[in-house]
């Protein structure tokens, strides 16, 4: 009764046989050992399981694995490239945007979705963009600061010609 699915996860082709009732988050965590994607609730409210499916932020507890068949999935483990932290990862570290760290992967993935759409978001836009993600530790203060910081870093990088030093 297992269904065969094909996924590209963090750039790697994965072929899997999964029970139809299993959620994408379960397959990521249990079958692919990508435990950076967390489960914090059972009603799709907390956002700890947020990943990107075909470039868009998705709560991976709200999607069956079979629904993701043929998709490209990116998780927190695939966000850094060539050993370089993504600007959001660096900014969360720099601005103390995490405490216990449990919401952090989902929060960063939700923020990455925002920064693809909006290069200079206001604090209001940032707060609305992450309202599907609960954090109980930070009061969101430093998360907002970190996303603001990452946006600025990414704008600077985008304005700098390749090989530049600005």
């Amino acid at each position: 009764m297992a269904e065969h699915i094909s996924l590209v996860v963090n750039g790697q082709q994965r072929e899997l046989d999964v029970e139809p009732r299993r959620l994408l988050v379960q397959v990521l965590r249990e079958d692919l050992n990508l435990t950076g994607t967390h489960i914090g609730c059972d009603t799709s409210q907390c956002g700890a399981c947020t990943v990107h499916v075909d470039g868009q932020a998705v709560k991976s507890c709200a999607m069956l694995a079979v629904q993701a068949d043929g998709s490209a999935v990116r998780t927190i483990e695939g966000l850094a490239s060539d050993g370089e932290l993504h600007p959001l990862q660096a900014a969360f570290w720099e601005k103390h945007g995490l405490q216990c760290g449990f919401c952090t992967p989902g929060m960063i993935m939700a923020a990455a979705d925002l920064l693809q759409r909006s290069t200079e978001p206001s604090d209001d836009e940032i707060r609305h963009a992450i309202e599907g993600n609960f954090c109980r530790c930070t009061g969101y203060h430093n998360i907002v600061a970190a996303i603001r910081e990452a946006a600025a870093v990414m704008r600077t990088a985008a304005a700098t010609p390749a090989g530049g030093t600005a």
């Binding site: 029970e19 927190i76 966000l79 405490q99 216990c100 707060r127 530790c137 930070t138 998360i143």
Partner: protein, 800 residues
Amino acid sequence: MTTEVLGAPIKRVEDPRFIQGKGRYLDDIKLPSMTHLAILRSPYAHANIKGVDTSAARAMPGVVAVFTGADIPYNPLPMAWPAGGASKLQNNVSTPRVLATDSVKWTGEGVAAVVAETPEQAYDALAAIEVDWEPLPAVVDAEAATKPGAPQLHENAPNNIVFEWTVGDRDGTEKAFAEAEVVVKQRLVNQRLIPNPIETRGDIGSYNPGTDEYTIWSSSQTPHIQRLLLAAFVMGVPEHKIRFISPDVGGAFGSKIFTYADMALTLFASKAIGGRPVKWVESRRENYQSTIHGRDHITYVEVAGKRDGEVTGLRVKTYANLGGRLSTIGPGIPTTLYGRVLSGCYRIPNVFCEVVGVYTNTTFVDAYRGAGRPEATYVVERAMDLFANEIGMDRAAIRRRNFIPPDAFPYDNPSGLLTAVNGAKVYIDSGNYEPALNKALTAVNYYGIEKAKDEARRRGKLLGVGLSTYLEICGVAPSKWIGAVGEGWGAAMWESSNIKVHLTGKVVVTMGTQPQGQGHETTYAQIVAHELGVPMEDIVVQHSDTQGTPFGYGSYGSRTSNVGTTAAIKAAAKIKEKARKFAAHMLEASPDDIEIDGANYRVKGSPDKVKTLQEVAFALDLAFDPPEGMEPYLDETAYHDTPNCTFPFGTHVAIVEIDEETGEVDLVRYVAVDDVGNKINPMIVDGQLHGGIAQGVGQALWEEAVYDNDGQLLSGTMMDYALPRASWLPSFELDQTVTPSPVNPLGVKGVGEAGTIASTAAVANAVIDALAPLGIRHLDMPHTSQKVWRAIQAAKGGQA
């Protein structure tokens, strides 16, 4: 070289693993041959169990074993803090069994468990268990539960009363009320909250039949205490046969301090099935039903005073809802941690507090961030506003009028609030409350607020400003005081640290404390780097595992920065003393002639005769040539019992705007001026304040665990319980005053709970201030738009 690390906003050493998804939380751990456990929980709040039929479940695919309460020979869970005190010990304790046997007392109490090859199979099999229930009438309100005719939960607790506890000067307070010019009274409900760490709890129990030893991984704040309690009180297994490991803990806020039935259940199950590991991960729904809740007080407060603003008496009676059975330290929270701190930062000469602890058909209540102190602060800060309102005095002025003055420290409350029955006491050791108040008032232009109110009114908004001049007691606690026999929690509360400087000069610090997001791996490393003069990157901080860390009481009560860090400093001092002696040996000098400068151990007056700590460690750890009587290795352990608690304070000011049409409350500004003493890492301190403030704001405006009259938890999921979202909150404006604590060498006080303790009252007071022009004098929290809208309609004489 390294002195600047202490007090610097250094980026956390924990973070690289968390930002890359490489943390290791309980559910991330997979062991070979691991099985999965699911718990059948009671659908009734109060019922007798007439029988449990597990035969169909046993035949389900993948099922390894099914257990009921009758299968488990363990004792009920311990209750460690009887809070007897002035009202003496009461023999009416009822705590949960690992699985219920005869009856259930709240919706969600565990009744049976399935172990299966996969979690899905375990949950599928739960549905096949048949329980023959005899439902009984339920009661969920603590005050109602004590009235005649209320459903009775336990035979040994008539009228559902767990204890009747008093503190303070009853006669003096009665006299103060008899002589008062003004008396103000109010009933206050401090509603029930759900802690909500984003990681739920979970355990992996693993029994080794070869060695007869148990290992448990569990998301806990207190590995050493849990090992002790499981061994000595629940399982009857020798303590040294259990190893307890807390992996990365995804938030806790008090809810992971305690002994839970699932801990013993996974260990029991692993042994019963021959040693295969058994994993249980709590669902969010289970977390809401069966991990502790917080607060839930009904309080009658009375204030006595003079027309000039002097408060002369405070009398409080509180019904504290403790749930259907008692959690590990449930009775200690509304007694010692509440009644003893009721007078806050005010010099109130007469205080008397009576607390009735009550069983109801609800989830057990225990320490949730602040634990007793937010409830106390809410009472006294609302009381101050009510009193000011009654006599027509400015709310800042009345606080100033009653502050404990700076020359009165150390301050011992005349009603004896801080004295345990055995005479052990703590003193409010230091403080200077007006500067923080003044800073906060200036920041919000408090004396120009009427203009802002007028301006808001023109926009259809009711603007209100609320103050909370809080005092916290934390850094818990002197063992003699907190452990007072019969009244305290029956154990000590010192902390421990071991430091080893290994051959290569790298330093391993192991602690008895247990972080849940506070950044201990960073802050302890900052302190030890400062003490030993070694770079932070040469230090690793370990904790979490009873194998390899010294016994410690864990992290809660904002105690790590006071008690834990002092233990680390003491251990470092021992390291330095031994290194001094060995350096003297190496340099052929007298130890008295060795001066320590960072990591350099130098002969006074001979700057070229020097050994580094690294050189000393290499030579002493090898120990080819130690002096007579000196043992090898730089390896020292220290224990520290704090001589006093610490007393952070400050002023928080909230400004809200209420939409008159919808009743929606918008928190538009939040200013916090806190005095938490010196700071080890100011970035981490600010983060603790932000998070604490948000939790307190959540209580004031949105959060409430709601039961219906049958004991069903209506706010039973994250869809129904109003946890604050980013878009509901503003950024916070922080400022400080710094009054170093005299209790510890760093002058720190602790900051994990301060924000929560202060903020609820500030926001609630702001809401009532905004509604005051309509003649509204008090509303109970949470100040949801529905509740506020109804109050506005009622005040206007409209339909509500």
